[in-house]
Symmetry: D2
Subunit: 352 residues, 4 copies
């Protein structure tokens, strides 16, 4: 109920603040007998990790995951998989600044109002460091639904947008650059833009596109738990996300039915796929694709007006090591959340 | 699990197909002692009802709700509120056409694949008639959270978009026209466009904007059940919805942090509200506002290629009485789903 | 959350008070394609029905169930099955007596304290009439798990107990008498005892034994959702139930391990079955059997001290048509709840 | 869904096997601002700990709990409380015996059948060591509902039963002896009996009585989630439990209504309390009390027939350090589960 669990059949519950002892989680409902690929899990964590390139935060976080249960002789046992990620590099610095102030467009203020207290060392529970646990669980979920292929990439940084549809892209190029955009020329422009923004002590938003391929027909529940409703919720639960579009999205709202309808081929596939692989909340076997909008990171390395607990506005110089643009590191998070949703619906559908 | 329940503290479970005996639902968790305004409930149902104007479907549906339990001497008792909406006008027509064919961008095909069967008389469970039950429950939810004001309106029909932000609109005008757009001039353009589209036997998509005002600070749960994640899921669960944007949405992804951050006033309100009233998943007391994109209705009154069960493509003339544009009638549905989410989080927050 | 839903994969949500318009419920998660046996459903309802013999309440209740959705051409469609049972025989009598008083060992007092209000016409939501909905859903659940055989019978009425274990009984005799005890001689004693008690205007408790046969190995989840924990909850949720014993039960607590352990046969079955068919919360393929204790009905046709709303004790003559002993009519309810649990775990296990 | 989570508002999810790295759990929904008494938590763990006396298992387990999140400056923050209990003393012994065999009345066999695999080092997930996590969470739950007093004690060991009702006992004596029976003379008899049983390499069952005092009126939900139904489930989820009785229990089934009804006093309390503090599933403010039956531990230090994976019966000498009687150490587990249930319903009721 308090919002720290995701999924029903394949569930993830997480705990942990950015500056506590450790983060971690419990994965419940993972089928027994899966020989886990631990390198694949580590690889996903590397993609999310701070300090991986010069356009992301230079914080050092080790992000070593320790599995504590649910795995025996390398295989899942069907019992819950408990894991922790120690917070090794949280220096006991001086927090007096942020202890008494609320930063604009951060969660400091609402946490204090909601709980009457907060862990003021960093973002506490609202820190994006929490997503490390999601990436661990998502990496395992990917192995549960090994046939379903989930690929995300950066399709916009600020005003710089990739104009091709996913069908015209070479996914093997995504990891070739620090931005995780498969079109190298655009990637370079994005990278330069992020460096420029960083120099200004500013930040910039962006968009991630995610494509899910080789999806069995029939995943998703009608009415409230439509497959794309749950994908939307999953994405909107990621820090800084402000929008979600399936298939044609907001562009589709401008179209006529005669343009938008996806006509069938004889084998049940469709000639177009403006629907984005889902009809009536249920996968139709076509590729599922969607876009996720991320706002610019709220922490600036500039002077900015903040609110004090005493109700004063003071001008404060922002400091620390933060991402000038969140989307490069958010790519594996988007994939992880998509994997959690797909594993949940896939396992549920199996029993119909 | 099978997707027919929404909400945890204030829950709605629905049942019913478009052409069965009746639709209905159970509202569980409604607080005791609320003197219900039945006229307000009927009014919401009128707003969703077919045949209400010449730009919506001319089907006749009575939509009379019968409450069966949970109400005594006009007041809620705290026990579940069961209700039914009889399907009075479902003529036993000839369904042989649609029985053997899958209409493009409808759920016929995926239902057959998922369940191995379907109620082929109309849309069955995937029919938008199911939303009548949501409107009933939403109308009660509104009375549970009487201080919170929820207002939706049509902000785009096809390419015709309202260019003002909600602050510059007069909400009292929304119900003054058949489109439910508060700007009369634009409303007229929209109305004419829908009539034109209807003449062509075609359909068109649109956008609804929803504003939630007078929200207490602190509603929403961090991490997976962020308030806007649940609002997003609620909206994406409505038939034909393809996109959701909170606050700045996809435009926000183009901005810099120094432009996007909402600076505080001394009283904790903010000078701007690009965040859309939610920080870190928790309401901050500012107005919550979001946009919802609806694709064009898939049923056309034109000739169209459809797939038969035997795997043939045949050209079929669409017929029946369908909405040329869904957004005018979807306004109360958007409000209803928003009310369900807000009531659920409001009641949960009360016990913190 | 408010306690009106049971089951996760195969769920039942119910609504309705004893004297409202109707009771009913929604069954969600029923697999598609099951050709329902409506006579079997009616038969279960007949077994629960008031007025069926001279040792149960002589109230007339028609208990006609109307299915409103989820069934098409006689088969389940996989969508929710909504149903209602109209309250046809609730005479608008004078309730002034019970309106202002709290009957001992009834729920009147706690409802008023919890909700600040109650439907004082009869038991309201706490009436055993609510179990009619459970019997409908249980009858369908039985058809979902057709291979699993669930049989309940009366094993004690007051001090009169059946001394044989279930293996020595002829289940075909259960329905041969009004008490539903398969040992005719004992049944006659029980019947006479109930008649005697009835003459006194008093009531008496009893015990029901339930046996579940042909259970697949592996149903049940370790730790919190052990199969017998859920069976126990299901039974304790039935009105008037005060105790639950699996297998050896409280007698088992007196035994030594060397007496209680169930030694294996080579095929994995066990020589004894003191465990009651469940180990570590998971079915082991042996018969599951348990006992359920019912307290005597609280409504007496005698003078009794009651509490008024104003805090006075007054002596009131009980009246009406109530069961002198609840167990004969509770047999199908025990079976129904057992069927709901087994269907839920059976469908969940299928996807492992 | 997979059974490793308990509670809805105040939830506990656990993970861990007896011989893995660690056990642990996540407590979600704990209110913010509670100054935790860590000594009280440690004390509860001491009461459950092996090796605490000469009538329990002599295994050494350190059971040190490490809190990883959700607590800041000694107070709960409202965010999830993650904790681990390292498995420090699990010696890497020779498990070849139990790897290939199924012990009678253990979960070995059903785990292998259900999951196709199991962690054969000790009891794996079915080990009672899992209950250490419950005791941690229960100790915190007790602090959430500080006014409600939960007391459990041993009321029977084998045939030796305590014949007094709880009102006639001095609860301060419970911890005065190794058995945790408040009547010293009986306690000594029990203790001697357990020592005798232990000498035989055998085990014996027992009964625990639990009393919950100072309960607010109105906790519990009607119909399926009755307060005692959830208490029953909680108790039946504890390893080795075979029965549950609320108030009069199975004895109540023998009584007449005129004997069993609890007559009111003018203040709403009742003269007797055969109901056990709950009416219609809702607490009535009187003491809640119930009994829990534990079967004898299945591990014997005797020769015993076991089943091999290959389907042979072989005679094997049991070994190891196991409890001859589980009830002395189960007292804090019963209290912990009762506390989890009460905290969950208490927090839920607050928002009505």
């Amino acid at each position: 109920m308090a919002g720290n669990i995701f999924g029903k059949i394949f569930s993830l519950m997480t705990f942990g603040e950015s500056h506590g002892e450790a983060l971690g989680g419990i994965i419940d409902g993972c089928p027994a007998g899966i020989l886990l690929d631990f390198d694949a899990i580590r690889n996903e964590m590397q993609r999310r990790k701070p300090g991986q390139s010069n356009i992301v935060t230079q914080r050092k976080e080790e992000d070593d995951v320790q599995f504590l249960s649910g795995i025996f002789e390398g295989k899942t046992t069907g019992t819950p998989i408990g894991f922790i990620i120690p917070n090794t590099n949280q220096k006991s610095q001086d927090y007096s600044d942020i202890k008494e102030t609320y930063r604009p467009s951060h969660a400091d203020y609402v946490y204090d109002k909601k709980y009457g207290t907060r862990d003021y060392r960093g973002g506490g529970r609202s820190s994006a460091r929490e997503t490390a646990s999601r990436v661990v669980a998502g990496a395992i979920a990917k192995q549960v639904i090994a046939d379903i292929k989930i690929t995300a990439y950066v399709s916009a940084v600020g005003e710089i947008a990739l104009n091709k549809t996913y069908q015209d892209l070479d996914f093997s190029k995504i990891e070739s650059n620090a931005v995780r955009c498969p079109e190298i020329e655009i990637a370079t422009m994005m990278e330069n833009h992020i460096k420029e923004i960083k120099k200004q002590g500013d930040t910039v938003g962006g968009v991630i596109t995610c494509v899910i391929q080789n999806v069995p027909i029939g995943l998703g529940e009608p009415v409230f738990d439509k497959l794309h409703a749950e994908l939307g919720k999953a994405m909107l639960s990621i820090n800084a996300v402000k929008g979600f579009e399936l298939g044609s999205g907001f562009e589709g709202a401008k179209m006529k039915g005669s343009e938008h309808n996806d006509l069938f081929n004889e084998d049940g596939t469709t000639k177009t796929n403006l629907s984005g692989g889902i009809q009536g909340g249920i996968s139709n076997g076509m590729d599922i694709y969607f876009k996720v909008a991320f706002k610019p990171v709220a922490t600036l390395i500039q002077k900015q007006d903040v609110l004090t607990k005493d109700g004063e506005i003071i001008n404060l110089q922002g400091k620390g090591r933060h991402d000038p643009c969140v989307v490069p590191r958010a790519v594996p998070i988007v994939e992880a959340m998509a994997a959690l949703v797909m594993a949940d619906y896939y396992l549920f559908q199996k029993n119909r």
